[in-house]
Every structure is written in C-alpha cells, then in structure tokens.
C-alpha cells in the first residue's frame, strides 16, 4: 500500500535527491512519476520522495544541463515528460557518487561499528 507508516522512512538529506535522480536515469529515459517510483522501489520503500521537491529538483537539474526533457508517451499510453541523462550529467553523477561514497565511509569510520540490535 502506498500509505505506510511514515516512521520507518528516511527523510532525504539535502542534495541527495539530485544524486538519486541522476542515478535512476542511468537506466534510460524516465518521467517524473517513474523516477519517484523507481527510487521508492529500489530503496525497498525506505526512501520516499517528496513530490513537492521532485519537480523543482528536476527543473534545477535541467537548468544545470545535466538532464534533458522531452514530451513522450508512457507505457500506459499517457502523455508524459521524459527526462534523459546528458553527457554532462553522467560526469556529474560519477563525481557525486564518489563524493557520496567517501562521505559515507568517513562518517561510518567516525560512528564506529554498528551496535548489535541497532
């Protein structure tokens, strides 16, 4: 169900949404609803994209020239705006991914080993 306990979900950190969008688009063009769904499903329902931030974020990425948009037809025959990763966006994704990994590793080292039972 779409309405789950929101307590289990993680609020996205500032700036991570951009990274997730770029990552999702690696598999090919997708529209906004598809991106949101993909993020939710790939994260096994633990990340919920706030749709209010999704579209401004898409707009931002488009302005940066990292993604391109084009109107097309969705699987269920609806008109939808499809987003596509540009070369510039791919580069951005690589650098942001490695940055993110370093950040996670660094924070992990500081926090130490996970406590049993969490």
């Amino acid at each position: 169900m779409a309405t789950q306990d929101s307590d289990d979900r993680i609020v996205l950190l500032q700036g991570t949404l951009d990274l997730l969008i770029l990552r999702t688009l690696v598999f090919g063009p997708e529209h906004g609803q598809g991106i949101a769904r993909a993020i939710r499903q790939t994260s096994e329902d633990s990340l919920l994209v706030d749709h209010g931030s999704l579209y401004p974020a898409l707009q931002r990425l488009e302005d940066q020239g990292w993604i391109k948009a084009k109107w097309g037809i969705s699987k269920n025959k609806r008109k939808a705006r499809f987003y596509n990763l540009t070369a510039k966006g791919r580069k951005q994704l690589t650098s942001e991914t490695s940055q993110w990994r370093r950040l996670v590793a660094a924070i992990g080292r500081i926090l130490g080993p996970e406590e049993a039972g969490g």
Binding site: A2, G32, Q33, G52, Y55, P56, Q59, N76
Partner: protein, 894 residues
C-alpha cells in the same frame, strides 16, 4: 534556453500526467479507480505548493514581483495624493539641496583637471625659512596641508629654464603666471583674467583645443608674432561663440594679438577656484607691459610651475633634483646663502588656494543640508508608520492568507523606494536653481571658476542619496509591519480599540528628534542672522552711501610715470564735471576688497617688543579722504599740492598714532617706511579718524595714507570712488562715456556702488544667514508636519476613548488641553535634546560668527520660542478635532 523559461502551463501538464500515471498504476495494483485518483493526489501532496516552488525557482520571478510591487505601490500612492505630495516634496527639498551642495563641493574640491593623466602632475613650491633669498616674489603663499609648512609657489624664470633643462625626473615642466589683461575688441575695453604660459603648457598638460590650435613651443620665442588662446567661457561671453574669431586680431594691452584657438569647455586654467579667460605666451611679458614680471631678473620670482612626474620616479627624488638645480640658479644669479627646500604638492586637482578656507564653508553647508534630509527621512518614516498601522487590517489579511513576511517587507520597501525615486527626480530639478541661488549669494559677480554643473557624477550622487534615504525611512515601517498580529487586527480591535492602543513611542521619539534638529538649525540661523546684523552695524569709519566705484588700469595701454599720474588727474577732473557728481577720489586698492599693501615702519622713539612694526599703506588722491568722508581730526588732509611736491608727506590714522607715537602729537614728526631707516622718510601732516580698509571684520590696523604720486614707478591700477548727489548707478553710463572720451582704450571694470562692494565682502556671512534660515524654516515645517501627523493619528485612534470621556462629562477644553499637552511634551523633549546638541555644535562655527558667542542666548531663546509656537500650531488642529468629537457618533462606531 537561458532566458526563456519553461512555460507555467507545461509544468502543470507534467504534474497532471504524473497524477494520471500514478492513479493508473494504483488501479492496476488493485485500488478502485475513484480511490486511486484520490490516493495519487495524497501521495503527491500539495500540488499548488509544488507549482509555487517551481514558479519561484524561475529566474525572473523576482523581477515580476518587483513590477507587481511597483504597480501596487503606485496605486497606493495615488490613493493618498496629499501624503505623496508632502513626501515627495520634502524629500525633493532635502535631496535637491544635497545635490546642489555636492556639485559645488565636487567642482571645487574633488574634480581633477581636465588634462591627460592628471595624477602625474605636481605643483612645485618651496619652503619659507628664516634665511630666504633676497627676492621679490608674487604668486601665492599657502600652508601646505601635508607638511604644515608655509610654502610659496613662485620661481624666477631663470629657475624655470634651469629646471626644464636639467631635471629629467619630469617629462614636462610647464610655467604659467596669472595676470590681468585689458582686452579691446568690438570697440570696448575690458579687463580679462589670463595666464602667461610657457610654450609647452598645453602640450605638456595634454589639454585639447575645441577649434584652432593651442599655444605651441614655437610661439613662445622672442620675436614671434603674439598669439592668444581663449577659454570657451570667455569665447562665449565676449565673442558669442563666433568661430571666425580664430585667426582674427584682437587688442590685448594695446598690442595686436592673433587668436589662434579656443580651448574645450572644461579647461579653465590651473586654479580650481578661479577660471581664466585667455592665455598668452610667457615671452610676451615685456611686450604686454607687465610692470615687473621679467624674464631676465633673477630676483623677480613670479613664475608658477606644474611638473609631470615620469612614471616610477618618487616625489622625494624629484624634489631633491629640483633643489640641486635651484641651488645652481641661485648661486649663479643671486649669491644668496641657503637654498630653499623644494616641496612637491599633488597637482591633479589644480592649485587649490582656497581649498582650506572653503572646506569649512562646505562643511557647514553640507551639515545643514544633511540635517534637512535626515529630518525629511524621519518625517517620512513617521508618516509611513502611521499609514502602515492604519493599513494594519490589509496587512493582517495578507499575512493570514499566506503572504510571506519577507515578501510583505519587500513590498513596503518598494513603496519607500518609489517615494525616494520621486523625491530624487524632483530634487534633481530643484538642484540647479538652488545651486544658482547659492552661487549668487556667495559670488556676486559670477566670477566663480569651476562652473558647477549637474553631470553624471552628480546624477550618481543623487541616485545614491535617494536610495539610502529610501532605505532609511523605509526601514522602520517595514520592520513594524512584520510585527502585526493578524488575529486582533482582523477582529477590528486593532484600528478602533480603546484599550491597549499602541502609543507609538518610537514615532514620538522621532518627532522629538525632528524638533531637536530643527532647533539646532534655527539656533544656527539665529547666530548667522545676528552675525550679519552685527557686521552691518559696524561703523566702518567712512560713508559708503551714494558712492560709485570702478577700477581701471591705463598702465597696460602704455601710460606710465608722470603721464599716468596726469591721466589720472585728468580723469578725475572730467568725471567731477558730470552733473550730479559731488567729488571724485581714487586709491590704489579699493576699500573693502580684501586687498592691501603693507610695509614695516620705523618711528623715532618706537621700540616694539618684537622689533618690527607694520602698517597698511593706501596710496590715494588728495580728494580720497574727503570723498569717502574719512575725517581728519588733527593737522590737515592731503592736498593737490602734495601730489605735485617732492616733499614726502602722509596722513596717518588714530591706530597708527597709538602704536607709533604714543603720547605726543604726531603732526610734523617723521617716520620711515621699509627695512632700513632712511629708505623713505615721511612727514606726518595729519591724523585721520580710524576707518576700515580691507574688510568689515578685522580691527582697524595702523594705516598710512600717501599721495599716489609718491612712487611713480609702481603706479598702475587704481580704484575710483565717485560721490554723487543722485543714486550712484544713475551716473554709471555718464562715467563710462567720460572715460571713453578721455581715451577709448582705457577699461572700466567692476563698476558698482560702495554699498554693493561692502555686501560682497560679507557674501559668505550673507549666504550662511540666508541658507541656514531658509533650511531652518523648512526643517521646522517638516517637524510641524511630523508632529501634526502623529497627533492626528493619535486622536483618530482615541476617538472612542474621547467620546466616552465626553459622554462621562469631560469638558471640551480639558480634552483639547490633553492633546496639546502631549504635543508640548514632545516639543519639550525635542528642546531637551536640541539645546545641548546645539550648544555643543555651534562652537564649530565660532570663526564664522562676529560680535556674538556661539552660545548667544538671544539666538537660542528665539529659536526655542519659534519651534514651540510652530509645534503648538501643528498640534492645535488635532486638538480642536479631539474636542469636537461627537460622543454619540464615536460610540456608535464601536
């Protein structure tokens, strides 16, 4: 792509498609279609908010909002035209006055010379010391603002040549010497201010001609035909911008000279205060009959020098090289001991002789206009607060339907800036007439050089001042607006409530501050007006009414020595024959012109403590003292016979007797003028009553009146005084005709009445009195508007309370007094702020005052009474309105 944003509709379509896809999928997953649509929306969240965020992320939104604010602001201002008018006019006065003063300051103090790379220019000066060379020098002496030393700016021509040839640290060294010329053109002879300039003057400075050519190095050589270059100003004034004047011969000092060019308008010589009319090559000093400028005399120092320092050369190195070079010329020509130290002063802004003295004047003008603008801003802040409070309901509505506080503040600020912009525009229109008015006061003849104009710099200044004042007065109302609590405001208690009505303590404080600052200005106005009265009341020792004066100088036309003395005698006779003329006199310097000659005096039995005693000299005709009605108290006055005799005689004044002949009768005694006793022996034939010589302010100094024929070699310019039985200006034309009939080529300059001359000599004081009074009045008016606004607002808010009081039996007089009392408290607080501030500040204008103290009680008391009356008058209307409140009406409103 960069500037064409995605259309809003496109975005809406995208969201729509999102919702549709989502509900499709939900339906596939098993929800019924109706639920699916609803759930899709729920998951999405607030669509409107999302759309708004998209909209606000758009790059141009701030601009659209600004335009929106602007439109809204204009509408608001149009709704209350009276408020807008008062706001724009008071700002315009403040901004206009500031602009006017700025353009004056800019022209005199800030602007650089209109030449190539002005920052490379240096003014050459030398430092006075005890062992200065035995020379006669003209030019200027100033206290150097950096070193504090007394420096002189003139050199011998030989020194200039030596510098030019042997000091490689300068790429150009240009020489010039200010001089007055007689120009005869179109059948009239007039004085013109000019400069003798070296041949490289224009090329070295990099000043360009508008038409024709400048003076070139080859023009500045012996035997070359004489040429002259005009400034634009003179070309306009004297030749009506006639381009054919280039190539034409005009007569300068009775010599034919060819006009070769006209300079571009901004170039008016190297003095920042006085503009010149024309330039003549320096080699022509003898041809132009200058009495003592000499190219060959090593002891005659009259050449002023500007140098263009080569890049990378330090001032010290250049000054040292100049000193070495100067030592060479002095050794060669004057055999004097110590070589004076050469000091370089920055030359980018020209020679600023009066910079120090006028900066005091400008400081006062600037302080006055700054204060007026500040008062205007405070006033507006107050009016806007009152308005924004009465707009409380509107603001509350907007806040409660979701307007952001930041957005509201921006809106209010836009309104303030709109007002400021309007004020700035109108102020710009006011600036020019204000400036001209000020110049007319400061400078009766319009001879002021820099010709201040409203240019780009002024525009930038005005725009800056407008924006800053807009921020100043917009800040308070905007800040208050953010503190509106929507709930009570919407319930209606916020506008008509009786209890807990805000008392606007800040507004009241602002009004008190305005009152205080107005008091400061009014007290200042009082001081300056009283100074002017004191100055007007000074007994000058001569009678100025019904006297016409003018200057002339036939020596430039070739008259000299005895011939000149005879011409002067003939001129006096011919003028005296004009009907309506009572008597004619003349003197070397005019009275009250700020110019004097002086000399050291040695008298038998006089032993001053410092070994020196100076007296002012005035060479004059025998008829001068009687024409000016300066009475001779003892002995006799000068006679025509004294003008002819070889017997050296003098009339001295009372101060002279007190200083040099205390005790005994001076008549018949002898004293000596000059450094060594015996240089010039003079016999005292009479004692004249003390009379002012150079100006109204300074005390009468020991003065010697000598026959002008005393020294025929030094005889040139004279100021005539003509006592008439008619109004003096009525015979001005006749005097001109008589002079022209005697010799057409003799100029008549600066013709005016002696009373005008006195008024001009106290022009600064008149300017202050008029200027500060006018702006004191404006300030008081603004304070009154402020007080009225606050009180009217307070009364409006307390209508219900007043109605209840009246219904309960309060007397109308009591209510009226209640309102008046509040106003008077504000005025009293203003006085409590203003009086100590004024007492502390007025001492800075002490040197401008005359005959009164900076704490002059009369000025302060009058100012306090005035501002109290103005305050009471402003409060009277709201007080009356309060007393006329109809209790039934007032209570029905509730």
């Amino acid at each position: 792509m960069f500037w064409r944003k995605r259309k809003h509709g496109d975005f809406q379509a995208e969201i729509q498609s999102h919702l549709e896809i989502e509900s499709d999928e939900l339906a596939v997953e098993g929800s019924n279609p109706g639920d699916a649509k609803y759930q899709a929306r729920r998951v999405f969240g607030n669509v409107t908010s999302s759309e708004e965020r998209f909209y606000e992320a758009s790059r141009w939104v701030w601009f659209e909002q600004f335009l929106q604010d602007l439109r809204y602001g204009i509408r608001m201002l149009r709704h209350s035209p009276a408020f807008t008018l008062v706001a724009v006019l008071s700002l315009a006065l403040g901004i206009g006055a500031n602009t006017a003063v700025f353009s004056l300051v800019d022209a005199v103090l800030l602007k650089t010379l209109p030449v190539r790379a002005p920052e490379e220019l240096r003014i050459l000066t030398w430092v006075h010391s005890d062992k200065e060379p035995d020379i006669s020098h003209s030019g200027y002496n100033v206290v150097d603002s950096v070193s504090g030393q007394f420096v002189s700016g003139s050199f011998s021509y030989a020194a200039y040549r030596q510098f030019r040839d042997s000091v490689p640290q300068f790429s150009d060294l240009v020489a010039y010497a200010p001089n007055q010329f007689t120009v005869t053109a179109g059948g009239a002879s007039e004085f013109a201010d000019g400069e003798f300039v070296s041949g490289n003057y224009f090329t070295g400075l990099g000043a360009q001609p508008l038409i024709g050519r400048p003076i070139l190095p080859e023009d500045d050589a012996p035997g070359r035909p004489a040429v002259v270059v005009l400034t634009y100003r003179y070309w306009e004034k004297r030749f009506a911008l006639d381009p054919t004047v280039v190539g034409r011969a005009i007569v300068v000092n009775q010599r034919p000279v060819t006009v070769v060019g006209v300079m571009q308008p901004p170039f008016q010589g190297l003095y920042s205060w006085e503009a010149v009319d024309l330039f003549v090559p320096i080699n022509k000093v003898a041809e132009m009959r200058h009495p003592w400028f000499s190219l060959s005399q090593p002891n005659s120092w009259w050449v002023q020098i500007f140098g263009r320092l080569r890049p990378g050369v330090s001032d010290q190195a250049a000054a040292a090289a100049l000193k070495a070079s100067l030592g060479h010329t002095i050794e060669q020509f004057a055999k004097s001991a110590d070589v004076p130290t050469v000091l370089l002063r920055p030359g980018a802004r020209g020679v600023g002789l009066f910079r120090e003295s006028v900066s005091g004047l400008f400081a006062i003008l600037g302080a006055v206009v700054g204060l007026v603008l500040l008062i205007a801003c405070m006033n507006l802040a107050n009016l806007l607060v009152a308005r924004s409070t009465s707009r409380g309901r509107e603001i509350a509505v907007r806040l409660s339907i979701g307007a952001g506080v930041g957005r509201l503040v921006r809106q209010l600020f836009t309104e303030s800036l709109l007002l400021a912009g309007g004020g700035g525009l109108v102020g710009l229109l006011l600036a020019r007439p204000l400036l001209q008015l000020m110049l007319r006061f400061a400078d009766g003849e319009g001879a002021l050089g820099p010709d201040p104009r409203i240019d780009l710099r002024t525009l930038a200044f005005t725009a800056g001042v407008s924006v800053v004042s807009g921020m100043l007065f917009g800040l308070l109302p905007a800040w208050r607006a953010t503190r509106v609590n929507p709930a009570p405001a919407l319930k209606g208690t916020g506008t008509a409530g009786m209890a807990g009505s805000p008392r606007l303590p800040l507004s009241r404080l602002l009004v008190s501050l305005q009152v205080g600052m107005s008091l400061l200005l009014l007290a200042g106005a009082g001081l300056f007006v009283r100074t002017l009265r004191q100055l007007s009341a000074v007994d000058l020792g001569f009678r100025a009414e019904k006297v016409l004066t003018f200057k002339t100088d036939p020596s430039r036309n070739g008259y000299e020595g005895r011939a000149l003395a005879d011409l002067y005698a003939r001129l006096r006779e011919n003028i005296a024959a004009i009907p309506g003329v009572e008597s004619v006199g003349m003197s070397q310097h005019g009275l009250m012109q700020g110019v004097e000659s002086d000399a050291s005096v040695h008298a038998p039995g006089f032993r001053p403590a410092d070994g020196k005693g100076n007296a002012q000299l005035l060479r004059c005709s025998a008829s001068f003292l009687s024409t000016m009605r300066i009475p001779v108290l003892l002995g006799r006055s000068l006679t025509l016979a004294d003008e002819r005799t070889s017997q050296q005689v003098a009339v001295v004044n009372q101060s002279f007797v007190e200083r040099f002949f205390p005790g005994g009768s001076p008549v018949g005694q002898t004293f000596y003028l000059g450094e060594q006793p015996g240089a010039e022996a003079l016999q005292v034939i009479g004692v004249a009553k003390d009379a002012h010589y150079t100006d109204v302010r300074s005390e009468v100094k020991p003065t010697v009146y000598l026959p002008y024929t005393d020294s025929l070699t030094g005889l040139h310019q004279m100021t005539f005084v003509v006592r008439t039985v008619l109004p003096p200006l009525a015979i001005a034309g006749a005097v001109r005709r008589v002079v022209a009939a005697t010799d057409r080529s003799i100029p008549v300059a600066e013709m005016k009445t002696e009373e005008q001359q006195i008024a001009e000599s106290i022009a600064t004081e008149r300017l202050f009195a008029a200027f500060v009074s006018a702006f004191g009045g404006v300030a008081a008016l603004l304070a009154a508007i402020g007080l009225y606004g606050v009180m009217a607002y307070a009364v409006a808010r307390r209508t219900v309370e007043i109605g209840i009081r009246l219904a309960l039996g309060a007397r109308r007089a009591t209510v009226q007094w209640m309102v008046l009392r509040q106003s008077l408290w504000m005025v009293a607080l203003g006085l409590a702020i203003g009086i100590p501030a004024a007492l502390a500040l007025t001492r800075f204008v002490r040197s401008t005052l005359y005959g009164i103290q900076p704490t002059d009680p009369i000025s302060f008391v009058v100012a306090a009474i005035l501002i109290t009356i103005v305050g009471a008058a402003a409060a009277w209307i709201p007080a009356r309105r309060a007393s006329r409140v109809d209790p039934i009406q007032a209570l029905r409103n509730e």
